[in-house]
Amino acid sequence: MSSEPQADAPAPVLRLEGVTKRFSLNEGEAVVALDGIDLELCRGDFVTIVGSNGAGKSTLLNVISGAVPCDDGQVSIRGIDVTSWPQHKRAHMVAVVLQDPKTSVAPSLTVEENLAVAFSRGKRRGLHLALTRSRRRNLQDQVVALAPPLANRLRQSAGSLSGGERQMLAVVMATLAGADVLCLDEHCASLDPLRAPEVMAVTDAAIHNRGLTTLMVTHNLELAVRHGKRLLLMHHGRIVVDVQQEDKDRLTPQRLMDRFRTATGGMPLPARTVLPD
């Protein structure tokens, strides 16, 4: 995961300013999921995000993608203020891959059809036939390049794919039409240990292929440490640790744990956190 060091930083691709999100619980209490987040990402950045449950990691991605509107603050992509835009309006800028393979693809549609839907992200959908021969060939090529296991399953229904295959498909779909920002929300967390690396490989290929700016939330410290050029530690809706490239290269999962304990005043990481053997 090497890339050229950033000289004088160009305009940030993604900028969050004072982003706050509150959720109200049943008893009238409010939980602050995001507490005045400031964040900037430049083109080509790959940021991994870790933290305890309820730290706000998923909410952060949701606010960026537009799935959840924020209460205060501003979200800008490529300098455009998208804070009030619903998700479908900014979908051509932000691509997402969610955690649950059961809901990451459309099960009744074929693999090809799912890809065709993803292909049209950001384009006007009219009465053009969705799967013309040329489009089919194009999609086939992409799949062969990025996710070979799916190459001869194009005509099958997406619902008949296994969990790992679905996540692979979801990754290809997210990266098919290009995006300014790619959000990965623990997208390998529900897969068994043999599948996860496959999907991660597809993910890396896709990101590298398009030079995508990426945010990846994960509970797997190994993944967090090995991937990406920057790491954020979140706790109670705040970014408590921000490890940049140079420091990150020297990071190990153990050191990460220590930093986390220091930053959070002794809180252990949750049981789900995956540590290397």
Binding site: S65, A67, K89, L98, L109, V117, S120, L129, S160
Partner: protein, 296 residues
């Protein structure tokens, strides 16, 4: 026996448009739309008023179809913009349309006998009327089916299917879910309104209560058709809609001839739906079991 088949085919081909509409709302858009009972009568009312006023028949029928689409649009808007649940939105529209239809006709019942209808040229045919109707309605049904099969293989149609199948994923792909649902409902109820307009001309009058029970008839027809064709693709669904409606009319006609009281028809239809749902559930479970076995 032949005329039983002829009448069933005739009615089935007119009413299969309702079933096609139900395919769009229930199966494709995942929106249980109960507007049908209302929009069917709206199509009948609008067409009747237009025909009685002397409008060219095809124009009257066209306006009726548009009226149906308008009804569906309102239902969709009630759900997407006002947050009213899908079923409740449909029920509300169905109830409100009763009053609207009464207003449109000005009375509860408009006769269409001595009026030029879209069917008049067919009625003047000298040879077997039934055959003429069956051919004409058959062509219409196949045309409707063809249009739908084509539409749902376009980008726009695929977008509607995506919203109905996995709304989260569709939104993430940049599809506006509200517009998609409204469009689906407009299309579905356009077909239902069209069916109502043609049905009124077949039976010779338009009545404000004409649509009552249509949703059940349409749904039962669809289930029967799916038992034959399955629902794995759009083309199978549309075929199921057309054929299922004709089979349903045949079953009903035969049952009535054999002595079933029409007042018991609703119970019988309901039982048919329950049986078909039970059978299809078993089929889904069997298929799921097979897939679990083959999946990696």
């Amino acid at each position: 026996m032949v005329d039983l088949f002829a009448t069933s085919a005739e009615q089935g081909l007119v009413l299969c448009l309702v079933t096609l509409g139900i395919v769009i709302s229930f199966r494709i858009a995942d929106f249980p739309d109960l507007t049908v009972d209302g929009s069917f009568a709206t199509g009948a009312s609008v067409a009747a008023v237009g025909l009685a006023a002397g409008l060219p028949p095809l124009l009257a029928v066209g306006i009726a179809a548009v009226a149906g689409a308008a009804a569906g649009t309102v239902t969709g808007t009630l759900h997407t913009k006002l947050g009213i649940s899908k079923i409740l939105a449909g029920i509300l529209m169905m109830i409100m349309l009763y009053s609207v239809n009464l207003r449109i006709m000005g009375r509860s019942n408009v006769p269409l006998l001595d009026v030029r209808t879209a069917l008049t040229p067919l009625e003047n045919v000298n040879w077997a009327h039934s055959a003429a109707f069956i051919i004409a309605f058959g062509v219409l049904a196949l045309a409707a089916r063809g249009v739908l099969d084509w539409f749902f293989s376009t980008d726009l149609g695929l977008a509607l299917r995506a919203v109905g199948d996995n709304e989260k994923m569709a939104v993430a792909a940049g599809i506006n879910p509200d517009s998609a649902k409204i469009l689906a409902l407009a299309m579905a109820n356009c077909l239902v309104g069209l069916s109502g307009a043609l049905f009124a001309q077949t039976v010779g009058f338009a009545d404000v209560g004409m649509g009552i029970g249509m949703i059940i008839i349409g749904f039962a027809s669809l289930l029967i058709g799916e038992a034959v064709f399955g629902r794995r693709s759009i083309t199978r669904l549309t075929a199921a809609a057309v054929v299922g409606t004709i089979i349903y009319q045949l079953i009903v006609g035969t049952a009535l001839r054999l002595g079933l009281a029409p007042t018991d028809l609703r119970l019988a239809t309901g039982l048919m739906v329950v049986a078909a749902l039970g059978l299809s559930r078993r089929a889904v479970q069997r298929r799921a079991g097979a897939e679990a076995g083959t999946a990696a």
